[in-house]
């Protein structure tokens, strides 16, 4: 990919992040943003930036980066332009794991791991449902299986919340619609670790994903251990998606939209595609969160609702081209 395209992706992210830090219930002048970044928090706007906006934007960046990478890797590996963690039920499974961990009052550090276990269970379940449905070649079948698993995960969460106090239910519902509103630096640093390690491993596997794009027989003929490669990509993508769910709840369609956007500027190999999807995903989620804050003030729209409003028309367009 040419340097100008990278500059475009990085520039867009920086611009989006600056806007998101500056705009909100209180508009902060850029000079105060600069002060806050330098650690001067003696003014009210600088304090807002430092303690509320910065962690929120940082979390949005990481959530978007994770979902973008996960979507790019899953689409390439499954040779399916509609694949992404939310639609495959991976995020739903992760949410079940996270809710179980929360009701058991486990520590926040356990949350991503519990979510990961739930995500893997959902992947396995989706594959079984897809196999029962027969046609392995049709990209829509696995998607349908994922949606079924996702619906089941939703129901399971509702059952678990049935006896909870109303405040817990409200929080849980808010979280299930996706949100970075109450971001803390603790959450940010935890998610950062997962995104960096998982993302680096996924980028490394990028070449194998390129080969998998040829189909399983052709990939095997090029010396790839196909089953192992697919398993590795699924585990890593699920891990990354689960960590984002643990931090920010269910944010759908980012993993679907972003890889297509990056491909549309001519990025085709999976190493640059995964990195580019991380950047574009981060930009998209930062902007979606900003939109959610400014569309109907003083109310805030859930992040997942905004990304779904953007993603669903996109999904329908892709679905139409597929059939």
């Amino acid at each position: 990919m040419s340097a100008s395209r990278w500059a475009l992706l990085i520039g867009a992210l920086i611009l989006a992040a600056l806007l998101a830090v500056a705009i909100g219930t209180i508009n902060v002048p850029l000079s105060a943003v600069w002060d806050a970044l330098q650690g001067k928090t003696d003014t009210m706007p600088a304090m807002v930036v430092r303690s509320l906006r910065l962690p929120r934007v940082a979390l949005a960046i990481l959530v978007g980066a994770g979902l973008g990478m996960s979507g790019a890797a899953l689409q390439g590996t499954m040779r399916n332009p509609l694949a992404e963690p939310y639609l495959l039920g991976v995020s739903g499974g992760a949410a079940v794991g996270a809710v179980i961990a929360t009701t058991l009052k486990l520590s926040i550090a356990i949350l991503p791991i519990a979510a990961f276990v739930g995500a893997l269970a959902a992947v396995v379940a989706a594959f079984f449902v897809a196999r029962a449905a027969g046609s392995r070649g049709d990209p829509r079948v696995l998607l349908m299986a994922g949606v079924v698993v996702g619906a089941f995960a939703n129901a399971a969460i509702m059952v678990m919340l049935a006896n909870a106090e109303s405040n817990t239910v409200r929080n849980a519902l808010w979280w299930m619609m996706g949100s970075v509103a109450d971001a803390t630096w603790m959450q940010v640093s935890l998610l950062l670790a997962y995104i960096v390690v998982g993302g680096a491993a996924l980028v490394l596997l990028g070449r194998q994903i390129d080969i998998l794009g040829l189909g399983e027989d052709a990939a095997a003929a090029l010396g790839l251990d196909v089953d192992r490669a697919i398993r590795n990509v699924f585990v890593l993508s699920s891990l990354i998606a689960a960590a984002t769910v643990a931090a920010a709840g269910l944010v759908g369609f980012v993993g679907l939209v972003v890889p297509h956007l990056v491909r549309s500027v001519g990025v085709r190999k999976h190493r640059p595609l995964i990195v580019g999807s991380a950047l574009a995903g981060a930009t998209l989620v930062v902007l979606a969160d900003l939109l959610g804050r400014v569309l109907r003030p003083p109310a805030e729209l859930p992040l997942g609702a905004v990304t779904a409003l953007i993603g669903v028309p996109f999904f329908l367009a892709k679905l139409r081209r597929l059939s």
Partner: protein, 260 residues
């Protein structure tokens, strides 16, 4: 050289062997063609070679090494296989596609060097697709696509080529171009093992033909030895005659019209 020695394959839950002890040899410098009716085990032979179906008896050798004892990447550096079906969900440029042939040499850690780029350029030139460098593969014609796939196989840098119906869906001109290219590659020292339905073209280009029937070898040898009406009629279960092509002199199969 590729050698199949009494290879048997049975698919899960099947009652009969897809391959029932098949032996054949594809030496360097010649074209060896595998022909036979649909479902006679031709593609299974290719899938057994790349480890996509389990071999229950017998073994496959590359030169004198059993395929079972070498790792997949090592095998891919020696034998390039062009499988029957292949469709990319996300199209890439021709040069990017051919570069995938270097994967067995690069793995996930090594960066491509001058050597790799040379192999890519060289293979694109010998498959005659150098001019298509930046074209996207979903913009290629059927004939160009088959030659680009061959270029990718050549970029693997081995000395054996296995092709499963490389001329399916091609018109006469493109079909001939692919066969001529395979002929040149064989004369340049490659072992070419070709699965094809084009009996008459195979009879002109192949040095030896192996005829499959229900998972076994029904006949093998020179085109003249295999292209015989009594053998082909039994295997294809259709009335036919074999004549000699008046223009080029090769044995030619002419299937007859059904009498009713």
């Amino acid at each position: 050289m590729i050698r199949f020695n009494e290879v048997a394959v049975r698919y899960p839950r099947a009652d009969v062997d897809a391959l029932a002890g098949v032996s054949l040899e594809a030496p360097r410098g010649v074209i060896t063609a595998v022909v036979g009716p649909n479902g006679s085990g031709k593609s299974t032979l290719v899938r057994a070679l790349i480890g996509r179906v389990a071999i229950v008896r017998g073994s496959v050798f590359v030169d004198d090494t059993s395929v079972a004892t070498i790792d997949r990447a090592q095998l891919a550096r020696r034998i390039a296989v062009v499988t029957q079906r292949e469709e990319l969900a996300f199209p890439v440029a021709v040069s990017e596609y051919v570069a995938l042939g270097r994967f067995p040499h690069l793995g996930i850690w090594r960066a491509a060097n001058a050597n790799d780029r040379h192999a890519i350029d060289e293979s694109m030139a010998s498959a005659g697709v150098g001019a298509l460098h930046d074209r996207r593969i979903d913009m290629l014609s059927g004939g160009e696509w088959q030659r680009v796939r061959l270029a990718r196989a050549l970029a693997q840098g081995g000395d054996a080529l296995v092709l499963d119906e490389p001329t399916a869906f091609l018109d006469v001109g493109h079909e001939m171009a692919v066969f001529e290219l395979l002929h040149r590659l064989a004369r340049a020292g490659q072992a070419v093992l070709l699965v094809s339905h084009q009996l008459n073209l195979v009879a002109r280009f192949a040095d030896q033909i192996v005829l499959f029937h229900r998972g076994s070898v029904a006949a093998a040898g020179s085109p003249d030895a295999v292209m015989r009406a009594e053998i082909l009629e039994r295997v294809y279960e259709w009335p036919l005659v074999v004549t000699r092509d008046p223009a080029v002199g090769s044995p030619t199969l002419v299937p007859l019209r059904s009498r009713h």
